[in-house]
Every structure is written in C-alpha cells, then in structure tokens.
Subunit: 416 residues, 2 copies
C-alpha cells in the first residue's frame, strides 16, 4: 500500500492538471441563447446608455431659468407647445416661456434642461403654472449616466446571468462572443454495471456514475457525451477511449485502483502515459491523470461519492478553465454543529448540510461518510474541508465549506 | 400621487399573488434530461442499495470464525477456491477452511462473512496465510446500507442537481416524474423599444427587458416565450396578450405607471380585471397583478432594475410554486461595508456586491441605485433588504441579503 507521503497533495494535483488546460476558442451565440455562457472578451459599449437625455418622470420639460421667480404669489405660466411620448423621434425644441408635455423615458427637447412632474404643476388648457422654481437637470437622466460609450461594462470570464443579459440587450448586442463549451466524454467501466431502466441480475448494480457525471459536466458548463459503459477488459476500454476523438477531455470512472481488473492505468501506459496517480484525499485517493494518445484523461474512482468529490476538485476546475471562468466553487466558513473526526493522513471532504442561524452558516454531517453511499451525497449542501492534520473538529469550531447549494429560504419576505 | 400607506406591503402582495398559483401537473422525463427539474413525487426505492453484500476492498472473502486463532506464530492457512470480480453473478459459496479472491464491489459469497485486504495476507499459490484474526463483517458493505427497499430517498419539490441524478441512477430510474415547466409569456411595451441588433433612431432605446426576463424565467425553471414588443396602444397590447393562449402566466414590462401612454391597467380593466396595483417597494412601486380574460398577468415596471427586482420578489416565487419547489431565494446576513440610506416609506432593495471576509459576508453598494441603471444590477451579487423604516444602515451593521450568486473563490484549495 502506498505511504500517504507518496501521494500528491490536493493542491499540487490540481495545479498539475490545470496547467495543461487553457481557455477554448470563442464562438458567437444569439443573445437569447447566451444565459449561463461565459464571455470570451470584454464587452465595450458602442453607445451611451441612455442614448439621450430623457425624463425620469411623467410631466413637463421646461427651461429652469424660466422658473426662477415662481412662487405661490407669483406663479410662472408656460405655454405647452409639444407632446413627447417615450420613443418620440421628433425631438423638437422649446423657447423661453414654453414647455413640452413629456412621458418617462421621453427625450428632453432642445432648449429644455429639466422636467417638472405632473403633480407639481397646475394645468389650464395649453398653459401650465408653476409655483416653485425647478432646479437645473431635475428629473432628467443624462445621456450616458449608466454607460458611457467606450467603457468596458463586463469582463471576459463573466458567466452570464439574467442581469448581464439585460445589460447586453441594452447595449444592442444581438450576438455574444462566448467561449466554446468543452466536450467531455464520460466512460464508466466495470463488469457489474447495468444502465438504469434495465433489469439487475445477481451481482450487478446500476451505472449511476455516468448520468451523475453527465449532469455535473452540464452544470459546470460543458457538453457531456456518455460513452456506453465498458467491461473490465483492456481492449474494450481502449476501443471506448478511441470512440470519442472529438472530446476535449475524457473522464473515466472506476478501474483506477489496485484490483486485478483495474485496467485504466495499463491502457494509458500502453497507448499514452500516466502523469500521476493517487492523491492525499479522502474520498478519492485513486485519482489518475494521464493521456490516451494526446487526449487528456482524468480517471475518477468508481465509488459514487469518490467520483463526485474528485469531479468537484479536479474536473469542474478544468471545465471552468476551458471556459475562461473562475475555476473554483465559492467557499464559505461555517460553524460546525456535529463533532467531525477523520483518520488523518489525507485531506478529508465531509458531506454536510448547511443551515443559516443568527447570520452564520452552520454545518452538520449529511450522513455516514462511506464513499460508496449516495444518500448522504444527495442530501448534502456542500463539502466541509478537514485538512489532513485536523483530525478532529469540535462542535462550535469554524471550518471551510465548498458550497453546492445554499439552503433555500423558507419564509416570506418581511416588509416590516 | 398615491400615499405610501395606500400601497400594499411586499409580503401582502406576494401572498395575494402566490395564493392564485399551485403546482402544475407532472410529466416524465428521461434521467439524462432531469437535471434542474423538480421532483413531482417522493422517490421511494424499489431496491436495496447496495443490492447485495459486497466487498469494500480488493482481497479475499473469508469466514471470520476460521481466523480466530491466527497469529504470527500460528498463521491460519485457507484454500482459495474461487475468484469473484465485481459483476460476478456466479455467487458460489465457501466452506470452512476456504477463501475466495474478491474485488471491490464483488458479491460476498455465501459462507463468507468478511473480507481481508490483499496487503494483510501472504499468498502462496492457491493458499493464503493470515497472521491475525479478522472481525465479522470487516470490509463488507451490507446490502441496503445506503438505501433500504421501501425508503423515501428524495422528497417531492427537490430540484435535481447532479448528486440527486446519481442517486436516481443508482435506483435504476430511467424516467423521472417531474413538474411540468410553466410557460411564461413576456411582453414589453413601449413606442421607444427596438430589438437588439437593429439600428437605433433618435429617441429610441433597445428592448433589454424582454431578453433579460426570458433569461430570468429560464433560470427560475420556466419556459419563456418572447412576444414581439407592443407599441403604447391599447389595441396592440390587447392583440399581443391574445397571442399567447397557452401561457400559464403573462409578464408585461412597462406601461404600468401613470403616464398618458400607460395602457396595461386599462386593457386589463377592459378585458379582465386588476387585482391590485402598486406596492410599498423601491424600486418597483407600479407593480400590477390582474387577469386578461382568466389568464394571470403580472405587470412589471419598465425601468430595467425595477423590472428585475419585481421579477425576483413576485414572479420567480410564482414559477417556483408552479414547479412545487421552495419559492424564495436563499437569504443570508451580511455586514454592511458602505453606509446605506434610503428615503423610507417603502421597503428598499439595494443592489450590492458580496465578499467573504473572516468567515462573514460583507455587502457593499454595487453602484448608483437609480432604477433605470443596468450596470449596478449587472455587477450585483444580491439584493440587500432595507425595511421601510430602516432608512439608515450604518457601516458594520447586519442586514439581510437575497443572494443571486456567491462570490467565486479566487484561490486554490489548500491541503495544509
């Protein structure tokens, strides 16, 4: 058995893998398909937003200088000479003593420098009366106040959520330059595997890793190709690895340990190379990284939870790097509610639930930490990081947690 | 102008809207398409996981009773009579004095009750020697230890991420019963609107709300239909609302305020009804809820940020309710890094950035809080909730924040 000291630390293994990947080429997608994609270049505005001075209220555009002496005793009367809805292109202009009816978003006409809302004037046919002065630029949104032409508004590497889609729309962008999504082939190996939906015979189990990893790849921003699972046979595995020449990366699951039927390492040695094998990590020690011909291969352990944890630590960062996005999950600090212990010698990632209490996150075990067990994984909100020499974390201590999902809010919003 | 007291508090408006919606019907989707969908029913396991007692190590299955007296001075010799890889269906059995070679995941043969790893035995042809006793059930994963047949493993309302997909795969589920995704039609109104990609003429702006809201609907789990934007004309708006009879909900954007060309309320009054109009909220006061014929309509304000905030508070919860999922965004407590002030009278949702420091979230303003400005919205990580009478939040105070996204982790993982 390998000594722990011979195994690679997690961060060294991450660096060895990530150094071999870089951002993929860019492609254009329609704005309507850009959600979740990652910007391949900075977005520089080609226009001002708003493009023109416009009204922030429904009311009247006026010349502030005309209103200086207005009071209840000496109201100022102005002649309404135009009606400017939003979208008006007849910009017109007003002279001294004149006003223009204007709606929110309507372009402020030349000559006017401010807007007075309906409720602040008295209307009398085509005349309005003001009883107090209007300050310059009141209720006027200046052209370019949100975005000045030539400004960088979003940086390359930004993943596009709906607010960013809104901003790109406001800039008039119909096609968005984003990173191509990496194509990730997934190959589960094992004589015992049967696809979900089929009947299990004695000794068989369902192949859960292929659908799980395919979903994980998609969530990270990649495109998954599920290769039919291969038997524990070097030739079958070689054929399967050959079947995906267009993949940017191949993930294998299973067959990476020391059993008689663990053939991944042998196949890579025969048809490429093994860059490293085994990390100081629990669960997930038998992680393997290598090349099949020149194609990168990350070999994940077959136990479902080991597979998920190594995906998080080594594969998701690769996908994010190929997208040009921030590689790592957000990490929060939580108060430990259950005493956590582990064997030491390897960094241990504990499946935990998260709860918010008094403004702090609290973490408690999501169940037994056996790497073959899926239920605790499916009930976890994140992975608590117990460093290799921190073998006991007492109740009340702080620990770092990689967050999969925040606990949802149960109550309604208060508007106290 | 309406008095603040006449406006509906946010939570009352939320309740009035949400009470009119319930979970949609269920539909089956293949496991490979189930990511992000919401379970429509509890998942009850029809099998044990693992389905059979199996080995957690590569080694030899033995009868623990045979090994009781083993020591370095008196090793116990066992005859290896079988070889059990994972996936083996010839389960076989062993008698006293016998052992079976077994790989991780292989079914433990009848007669054996424990597994001893390779590194703990001495192999000598078809004989192995043990120098210490093996305890009962050592290195054996019991059938059903992860899931017992008949157990509920996931609850209705669970949104399926990859760990849950893995669990469903392990249960053999090829088709998953999920809630149908609600169809949400989006209609932006305004004479000034031009679709992104076209040329702006004077007085025009790009329609950013339609693509933004379409992305927001998709992110919340709905299916968006973008109706071409309508001019500020009651007949055009009526025709547009009639064009989406299959929608579960219609969102309008713009035309909900008090301007001369704000026609949404009039159209609903003519062809259905207005249930309520205006909430004690900033930005987003002119929110409107009603029916066009019997079809529910939520009228969002036209200012982009008002539109986004009211989507978050009133539309996303409706979509989540129709999916049967938790309606509200996670809400965290953050330390305020910038003094926050507002006018009071209405609950105010401040666009903020979030940063993690010393285990706490810190919130700072994402920029000017003008409801027409998109850049601060696009740079925000969440919405800080400033209640209507909490008009000043000093630096260092705590405040609740609805989280859009967690700040990404910049550094590598440590494996100290």
């Amino acid at each position: 058995m390998a000594k722990q000291a011979d195994l690679l630390p997690v961060d060294v293994a991450q660096r060895l893998i990530l150094d071999q990947f870089s951002r993929l080429e860019a492609e254009e997608v329609p704005l309507g398909d850009a959600r979740g994609r990652v910007l391949a270049a900075d977005t520089v505005s080609t226009l001002n937003i708003p493009p023109f001075d416009n009204s922030s209220m429904d009311g009247f555009a006026v010349r502030s200088a005309d209103t200086g002496g207005a009071s209840h005793r000496t109201p100022v009367a102005l002649e309404v000479v135009a009606d400017i809805p939003a979208g008006s292109s007849a910009l017109g202009h007003i002279e001294a003593g004149q006003a223009a009816r204007i709606m929110t978003g309507g372009p402020v006409p030349a000559g006017a420098d401010s807007v007075v809302p309906f409720e602040a004037v008295e209307e009398d046919g085509a005349v309005i009366r003001l009883t107090s002065p209007v300050s310059r630029r009141a209720c006027v949104r200046d052209a370019g106040q949100d975005v000045t032409q030539g400004t960088t508004v979003l940086h390359a590497g930004t993943q596009l959520g709906y607010p960013q889609i809104g901003l790109l729309g406001a800039l008039g962008c119909a096609e968005i330059l984003v990173s191509r999504r990496p194509v990730i082939a997934i190959l589960s190996t094992g004589d015992e595997l049967v696809a979900p939906g089929k009947t299990l015979r004695p000794g068989q189990i369902y192949n859960s890793n292929s659908p799980m990893l395919a979903a994980a790849v998609a969530e990270a921003g990649g495109v998954a190709i599920e290769v039919p699972s291969a038997r524990d046979d070097p030739e079958a595995i070689t054929d399967a690895l050959r079947s995906v020449p267009h993949a940017d990366l191949i993930l294998t699951s299973g067959g990476a340990s020391v059993g008689d039927h663990d053939h991944i390492k042998g196949v890579l040695n025969a048809h490429g190379r093994v860059e490293f094998w085994r990390v100081r990590l629990r669960p997930g020690k038998p992680l393997l990284f290598g090349r099949f011909a020149e194609k990168p291969v990350i070999g994940l352990p077959g136990n479902p939870t080991s597979s998920a944890v190594t995906f998080e630590l080594f594969v998701r960062p690769v996908i994010r790097t190929m997208l040009g996005a921030a590689p790592y999950r957000p990490r929060i600090t939580a108060v430990v509610d259950d005493r956590i212990t582990h064997q030491g010698g390897r960094a241990t990632y504990v499946r935990v639930r998260l709860r918010l209490r008094d403004g702090r996150f609290h973490a408690s075990s999501a169940g037994p930490q056996d790497s073959a067990m899926l239920v605790p994984l499916a009930h976890a909100d994140g992975l608590l990081i117990a460093d290799e020499d921190r073998t006991e974390i007492p109740v009340g201590a702080d620990a770092d947690v990689l967050v999969w999902r925040l606990p949802p809010e149960a109550q309604e919003f208060s508007s106290r």
